[in-house]
Amino acid sequence: MRVGPRTFILGAAVGFVSTAALIWRGPGAEAAAPIPDLSGHWARPYIGFEPPLSGPGPIVNRSRVQGQSNINQFVGDYSSPILRPQAAEIVKKHGELELKGLVAPNPSNQCLPMSPPYILQRQEIQLLQQKNQITILYAEDQQVRRVRLNAKHPARVIPSWYGDSVGRFEGDTLVIDTIGIKVGPYSMVDSYGTPHSEALHLVERYRLIDYFDAEAAAKMSERENRRLLADNSLGNGVAIDADYRGKALQVRFTVEDENVFTVPWSATSTYWHASGDWVERVCAENTVEYYAGLSSAVPRAEKPDF
């Protein structure tokens, strides 16, 4: 092809501009990629984590109903090789209580904060995205997590129920790193009583996925988890916009705690576009009233906190 003077000048100009752009963008060019908007109201129809595509996954329920986890009886597989012996013993005792027909204490039935990753099993979240902060609201008992963007953990972290969370965007993915999660009276990472220590380290990776990828994730999840319905006997108010064919929000996370687990393990939670207004769900109120005529024992102090 013969290159004319005008084409050459145009090509040279484009080349110059492109080169200049590369120089101008410099080594931080990747950071200038558009930040995805993950904000919104999201819901998932499961209790429990979705297993990972590969590698070690979470503890699973030994109690099954039609091949799926029995969400009325949490008996963790204490023989899992990811558990250290002391942790396995705790999971075993938790399951033994459940097998006796009792309910083992957990953050949900004790109205205590659900530390991550336990909270990633829950059904409704709202993600608020600001320039320097991500705020994640959870419908259950108005729980709130805060993530400082592009920040570092303090040199000395004061343990707290939700830990110290810092985040950053890597391309289309929000990466959240959490340490400093308080070890409270019923600290656990899942519904099976799997404990955690002060060494717990959680990395969450949130990104938007296509509707069909979300459906594939649902099929994967249902190998383990029973799908809840908004009008089923659990009546927990989960509402997913069934007509919505847009993106879903998926978090893949890795849990590391050398005092509890022999290896890091991973799992996934996928959230769909939620419908309807946000529903207040107050633990002390216990609106669901599963208590066979018993009134809920709500916390009672003899003197005010303040």
Binding site: R25, I35, S39, I47, N72, T135, S160, Y290, P299
Partner: protein, 291 residues
């Protein structure tokens, strides 16, 4: 040597590099920016410049309770305030949302020392430090024709110049409805209008100092962290409370906040402060899991 680049090349460069990172939806502009965390050092409300205010205390004695003789109280409400005041004077406490880990309706919730504001295009969200409570205000919306009562009520808001106006109805009564720290109850007719605006640093500081003098400061371990180095504006909420079943006339008050210097978790069921005479805290216990 300085590199001279023609303007058109700059435009081309910008086009190639792409637009600036889009602002996430949580950062959309509002007529006034009141976002961030705010703190106050006292529990009580500030009296209005004019007109009826809150019923106030029965006396200046500690644990005196509310002034049940206040003429603004309807007789039934006065009897409730009197019973609650008598309990306090006996050294007991009456059930209330703070003791029982229930959500606090506005304006009672303004007793909490820290509040964070997140302004979105269609919604303003308020986070409160005590027991991680959340309020949502739908902007430029209407109350539904039939409001389903809820702990925080149905809140709608709009901006009037430099002021965010929030209108709330549909509060759920619950076992211990409480409108203020003086023991005033409320009914399902409660209607609260809140007006948020920024006030000068000097105004906010002076009001907080006056409140501390008049009401006493809370202990710092209760998470009242004011950033004393911050010299920017404060946030003030003037609110009006209307409930014809409880009060003879609407009354008003205000609360003033300064920039918070930190944020702590304060979990009711955990009850970290342990004021309970060595009694163990009774946390909720369910016979079966909720889910």
């Amino acid at each position: 040597m300085a590199l001279r680049v023609p303007a058109i090349t700059i435009i081309s460069l910008i086009a190639l590099v792409g637009p600036a990172t889009p602002a996430p939806s949580g950062d959309r502009a509002a007529p006034m920016d009141m976002s961030g965390a705010w703190s106050r050092l006292t529990f009580g409300f500030e009296p209005p410049a004019r007109g009826p205010g809150p019923i106030g205390r029965y006396s200046n004695q500690p644990n005196a309770g509310g002034n049940f003789n206040n003429p603004n109280l309807k007789p039934d409400a006065a009897a409730i305030v009197k019973a609650r005041s008598e309990m306090l004077r006996r050294g007991e406490d009456y059930p209330n949302p703070s003791l029982n880990c229930y959500p606090m309706a506005s304006p009672y919730i303004f007793r909490v020392q820290e509040m964070a504001v997140i302004q979105k295009k269609d919604e303003v969200i308020f986070l409160f430090m005590q027991d991680h409570q959340v309020r949502r205000v739908k902007l430029n919306a209407q109350h539904p024709a039939k409001v389903t009562p809820s702990w925080n009520g149905d809140s709608i808001g709009h901006y009037e110049g430099d002021t965010l106006v929030v209108d709330t109805v549909g509060y759920k009564l619950g076992p211990f409805p409480l409108a203020d720290q003086f023991g005033s109850p409320f009914s399902d007719a409660l209607h609260v209008v809140e007006r948020y605006r920024m006030v000068d640093y000097e105004v906010a500081k002076a009001l907080q100092e006056r409140n501390v003098r008049n009401q006493g400061a809370v202990a710092t371990e209760q998470a009242a962290f004011v950033d004393e180095n911050y010299k920017g504006k404060g946030l003030q909420i003037e609110f009006t409370v209307e409930d014809p079943n409880v009060f003879n006339t609407p009354w008003s008050a205000s609360v003033t906040w300064r920039r918070a210097g930190g944020w702590v978790e304060n979990v009711c069921a955990e009850n970290t402060n342990e004021y309970y005479n060595n009694g163990s805290t009774k946390v909720p216990q369910a016979d079966k899991p909720d889910f």
